[in-house]
Structures are given as C-alpha cells and as structure tokens.
C-alpha cells in the first residue's frame, strides 16, 4: 500500500511539470509553413517548414497518423506531400536535418501510410553511398544505445520476408569502421525486426498463425 501512496504522491508533485511538457507541433503552423514553402519556395520558407515539422516520432505519428477524431489537428490527408517536401529540402544544413531525422525515427513504429512513407525515404538515403548516409549514421551513433536500437529497429522493420530487402546493406561496413560499438545494435535490430513485426495497427502483435 505504501508504494501505491508513493506513486500517487509523485503524481501530485510531478503534475505541474508534466503539464508543461505539451508537444510542440501545431497543425495550423505546419500547414501554413508547408503551403508557403511549396508556393514561392525559398530558403527562409523551407526553414520555417523544417522548424514546424514534428521533432519526434510521437508527434509525427499523432499529426500524420490516422486519427480522424483530431479533426483539423490531423494532417493525415496531407502526410504524403508533406513528408516528401520535408525530405526534398536543400536549405537545411545536413547536421541539423539528420538530427531531426534521427529523432523522429527513434519514436516511430512501422504502419501503413505516414510511417511507411518515412521508412521509404529513410531507406532511400541509407542505401545510397555518400555523405548523406554517413552524416545520418554518425548522428545515430552519438545517441544512447537504446535510441540507436529504436532507430535501426524502424529501418529494418518488415512484416514479411522479402528477399530483395533482406539483402540490403545500410552501410554496415562504414558502421564497422567508424562506429564498431554500434554493429551489435544494427545486427540485433535486423535479426529481430526484419520479418519480425506486424503493422502497429494490426489487431495483434502475435505471430501470424496465432492471429487467426
């Protein structure tokens, strides 16, 4: 009983702090910034859109996910266009851009629609050679190992065994050379999440034969 009392007490003490932790994303601001950036474009408008874009996976899921109950606060219908616009920037410094990419990815689970668009863009960067993939990998390597696992879990998440995707290599050689401590995380994520999940909106996270 004493433990339950302690939890209740903590709740009362923490409440004011929790109230101040409201997510920062605003549908109105993001929509306006997006419309301005695709209209006349320009570096300043791109930057405003980038700043208005969700800063973590939970906000991304909430604003672009299928939540019709949120009405005007949901941007589900514009998700594909906005995600495309986000990844097609040319005005944001790479380090800043990929910091945001890593932060958003760490909070996502694979599902249809918005998480799927994000995973496709992420894969596109990580399967290309060049500075973009390395900048992103360097950023991920600087995160706590739990967050590194979240990142690679999302990258590797598939619901089925797809032979083409199973052969993909997201720069493991670079990781081995530059961030060897991240290799076990990368390998574990591949082992557990490739052909290892159901979409998060599926009725059950159980193995398929038991889902019936």
């Amino acid at each position: 009983m004493r433990n339950y009392g302690l939890v209740a007490l903590l709740f009362i003490v923490l409440s004011p702090a929790l109230r101040a932790q409201h997510g920062g994303v605003s549908a109105g601001r993001l929509r306006a910034a997006y419309e301005a950036s695709v209209g006349e474009g320009g570096r300043l408008r791109q930057r405003l859109f980038f700043d208005a874009f969700p800063t973590n996976g939970e906000d991304y899921e909430l604003i672009f996910g299928y939540h019709p109950e949120l009405r005007d606060s949901s941007l589900y219908d514009c998700a594909a266009d906005m995600v495309e616009a986000f990844w097609c920037h040319d005005a944001i410094p790479d380090s800043l851009f990929y910091s945001k990419v890593a932060a958003v990815t760490c909070g996502l689970r694979l599902d249809a629609d918005a998480p799927n668009y994000w995973q496709a863009r992420l894969e596109s960067v990580l399967t290309r050679h060049g500075r973009d993939a390395e900048t992103l990998i360097d950023r991920v390597a600087s995160l706590p190992v739990g967050d590194q696992m979240r990142f690679w879990s999302f990258v590797w998440s598939t619901t089925l065994d797809d032979e083409v995707r199973s052969r993909r290599d997201f720069h493991r050689g670079y990781i081995l050379r530059r961030h060897p401590q991240m290799v076990p995380v990368y390998d574990s994520a591949r082992k557990l999440f490739f052909n290892g999940i159901n979409f998060s909106s599926e009725p059950s996270p159980r193995n398929f034969p038991e889902c019936e």
């Binding site: 433990n3 339950y4 939890v7 209740a8 709740f11 923490l14 702090a17 929790l18 109230r19 932790q21 409201h22 997510g23 920062g24 994303v25 605003s26 549908a27 800063t55 973590n56 996976g57 939970e58 906000d59 899921e61 909430l62 604003i63 996910g65 939540h67 109950e69 949120l70 606060s73 932060a103 909070g107 689970r109 995160l143 706590p144 190992v145 739990g146 967050d147 590194q148 696992m149 979240r150 879990s153 998440s157 995380v185 574990s188 082992k191 557990l192 999440f193 290892g196 999940i197 159901n198 998060s200 909106s201 009725p203 059950s204 996270p205 159980r206 193995n207 398929f208 038991e210």
Partner: protein, 210 residues
C-alpha cells in the same frame, strides 16, 4: 438436492464468467477510441465496482500504446478536446491495473499490446511502467504476461521488454531482471534472450521522450 443446486450454481457462474470473458475479448479487439465512454465507464467503476463495471472500463480502455499516449500524455494537439485525459492518466491507469475480475489471460493480452506501443517518458507511460513492473513481480500475473509475450513476433517482444527495462538511470530493475531471468530461460529461452538484449540496451541507456 443440495448437490444439484451447488452444481447448478457453479455451472451458471461458469457460463457467466465465460460470457464475460468473450465479451471482454471481443471488445478488446476493437480499435475505436471513445473518450466519453472511458470517462463514463470509469465513473461507473468508481460508483459500483462489480464485474460488469470492470468489463465496461476494460473494454473502453485504449487497445494500443499509441492510443494510450494520445489520450494520457499531455499534448497541444489534444489540449482542450475530449481526447485530453492527461489529468486523469494516473486515476485511469491505476484503475486499469486494479481490475480484479477480468480473466488474467485477457488482461495480459491487452497489457502486452499496449506496452509494445509505449515509449518511456515521465508522464502516463511512467505510471504504466511502474504498474507493469509490480505485475511482473507477482507470480500469478507474471507467468500469464510472460506467456503472452512469448507468443509475439520477435520485434514486438523487443518492444515489450524495451518498455519494461527503460530507465534513464540505474534503479531496482536490476533485481527484477535477476528474478525473472531464470524462469524465462527455462520456459521461453528465446524470449529470455530478447529480454536480456533489451535490458542491456535500454536499462540506464535511454532518453526520456522529449
């Protein structure tokens, strides 16, 4: 005659329990999020905590971690709407974990599914994690929850254990891990290896959701 009456009573009780379990299980698969129903079911549970009130609250409670987060974590997208239950997060979470008449297997299925979609934070998911750890320390719920986790696809098992072991600093989870691991190794060795992997990666090694 007395024997017949007693048998009849138990038969009726068994039928009622089975019906309740089916109702609860069928509704647990629904993905509709109805905040008004959650509030009404919680009020009904407080005024008359019988098996029907428990089943109603259990059914209304979110099915997925994402829905739990939407309702119970403070967020400016839901502030001021009927979906802002951040002020009730402790009461509702506590009420959920104190449901005593829901069959353990049915409760465990929902607990595990919600947990897979949660990410450690200082808000509602912190309460959830606290109650989950208490449940894993109790033999009667622990085994049912672990059996359910062992049925999941490997990625979801990692998600589950990541939530259990997530912490920003070292704490008493070390003791819980040590107490769970021998039983896990015996009954579900694959799940034990995933739990150990999650413990290594997430215990004292994760940032709270920002």
């Amino acid at each position: 005659m007395i024997m017949y009456t007693t048998a009849s009573y138990f038969k009726r009780a068994a039928i009622c329990l089975l019906a309740l379990a089916s109702l609860v299980k069928a509704s647990a698969q629904s993905q509709d999020l109805r905040p008004e129903e959650i509030a009404a079911a919680h009020a009904a549970l407080l005024s008359c905590p019988d098996s029907l009130a428990e089943a109603r609250f259990f059914n209304a409670f979110p099915d997925r971690g994402e829905d739990f987060t939407l309702l119970y974590e403070p967020h400016n997208l839901t502030a001021g709407t009927t979906f802002d239950f951040s002020g009730s997060s402790y009461c509702h979470t506590s009420a959920f974990w104190n449901l005593r008449l829901i069959p353990a297997e049915v409760l465990a299925e929902k607990v595990v599914r919600i947990t897979c979609g949660l990410r450690f934070s200082q808000g509602a998911s912190w309460y959830w994690q606290w109650y989950l750890r208490q449940a894993l320390a109790l033999p009667e719920l622990r085994d049912v929850i672990i059996d359910e986790v062992a049925r999941l696809r490997s990625g979801h098992q990692l998600e589950f254990w990541a939530m259990v072991w997530s912490s920003a600093e070292a704490d008493s989870r070390d003791l819980l891990f040590e107490s769970l691991q021998p039983g896990l190794l015996t009954r579900h060795p694959h799940t034990a290896s995933i739990s150990a992997c999650a413990f290594h990666l997430f215990h004292n090694e994760v940032r709270s959701r920002e």
